[in-house]
Subunit: 99 residues, 7 copies
């Protein structure tokens, strides 16, 4: 059973970060309690990049370990063993999240 997937071209493999529904004190957070539902994910792996019109490779903008903001829709779901991942094209990813 394959354990690793190396994305091709400008694809980025991410694993979505589950939303915090319990406060640090262990209390169940109601939906509207400011816990903004960020569609965020961790970058697991990136492809070499898209090939430009004249054949140059345009490297991907995010790197392994980045926390990124995903668009509401899109992406291809991939199950490797028990884990679920998603593949997005580099230019569909909205931005990099920093603390």
């Amino acid at each position: 059973m394959a354990k690793r997937l190396i994305p091709l071209f400008d694809r980025v493999l991410v694993q979505k970060i589950a939303q915090k529904t319990v406060s640090n004190g262990g209390i169940l957070l109601p939906e509207s309690a400011g816990a903004s539902k960020l569609n965020s994910a961790k970058v697991i792996g990136v492809g070499p990049g898209k090939v430009s019109k004249n054949g140059n490779v345009i490297p991907v903008c995010v790197k392994e370990g980045d926390t990124v903001l995903l668009p509401e829709y899109g992406g291809t779901s991939v199950k490797l063993g028990e884990d679920e991942f998603h593949l997005f094209h580099d230019d569909d990813i909205l931005g990099i999240l920093k603390d």
Copy 2:
């Protein structure tokens, strides 16, 4: 909880400027009182720029701190904690507003 978002490619992160509905003297301005409903916003952050066909990065035209005029439609809404922001592509922004 992520506090900052660094836009990717030619995306621009803006925060919409609420329309003035009360005159300086505190009187509620009627809709038609010349308070033109400008769809304006403050630029919070910009991406590095779009990648041209032959791989060059084309820098974004607006910069952090600019006040810009947004199109009537479009943009992606992003909530970071309590604050709401919007992401627009650089070439969807109509212009820079100056006093």
Copy 3:
């Protein structure tokens, strides 16, 4: 309240010229009296220009002060205070009107 708008990319800010409906002698001109309904406007401001595929900026063809012929449709209306302006892309403008 913002008083000036600097267009971005290849956008052109224009102010439409009201059609003459009264002859020099003060007589109300009937619609068909040769007062051809030219969709003309004055150029108020221009953007730096469109960015070509390989990253060069292609300057706009019209300049501030030109009188131009607008297409019948299109353009984005912008109200700055009491005044109404319109934004057109450079290559939607049909031509420059000369006496």
Copy 4:
């Protein structure tokens, strides 16, 4: 009232040539009498040309004074005073008519 229009980009200003419906001897020509209904026009003015992908200006193929064959449809009608003109893009014009 503007009397001249300078076309922009690759636009060509033409004035349609009325079809001959009376023979030289003054006799009314029936529709089918070989007086082929050529959609021809005289070139009044031309724009500088279209801008290519990498920013070069590609000059227009026809010049002022040419008699050209127009496509059956298309073109933008422009009335300057009493006269009616039409604007076509250079690559919509089918060919140059010669005696």
Copy 5:
């Protein structure tokens, strides 16, 4: 009355070749008698060629006098006096017919 048409860009002016419906011996050929209905035509005139993205002119592939195979559909019909011609874009023409 214009007698000649010089095509523009990559347009090719052709005159369709009527299909042989009578055998050399003068007998009327039935439709199915192998007289394949080739949509062939004689090239009367060619334009200078299409302009490539970076402004180079790409000459047309066929020349005056060639016998060509036309696609089943397309082309613009042009009547010059009594004669009927057709205008095709160079890359719509399927091939050159040789004995």
Copy 6:
């Protein structure tokens, strides 16, 4: 009656290879007897190639005499005398078949 057709641009003239329905021993092969219905054809002639954006000719990938695998749909049928041929664009042909 034209006997030869020289394809233009990136077109390839092919003649489809009839499927074997009788085994070597002369027995009628049932449809499912592994006689896979390969949509194969012999290359009769090729065009010079497609013209790239900047005017270079990109030669065709197959050559006269190759046996090729055709897509299930597409192609233009051409009858030259008694024979039926088909024209395909080079990049519609799936591959070259080898024993």
Copy 7:
């Protein structure tokens, strides 16, 4: 009967890997037993690559022998004798699977 197919352009010939439905101990695996249904395949052959806008050949990213992850849809099925293969365009293949 052709035994080999050499893909053209950026096409990749693959043979799908049947999903394991029996555990090593020979027990029939229920659908949901974590045997994630990976749409994987072995690369049998690759084309030379796609031709870029200015005529350069852009080599394919995968090579013979790679195990790849296929998209859920797409691909052209090809039967060579008893075996079934599929043709995919290089940039439709999601990634390379590694143990």
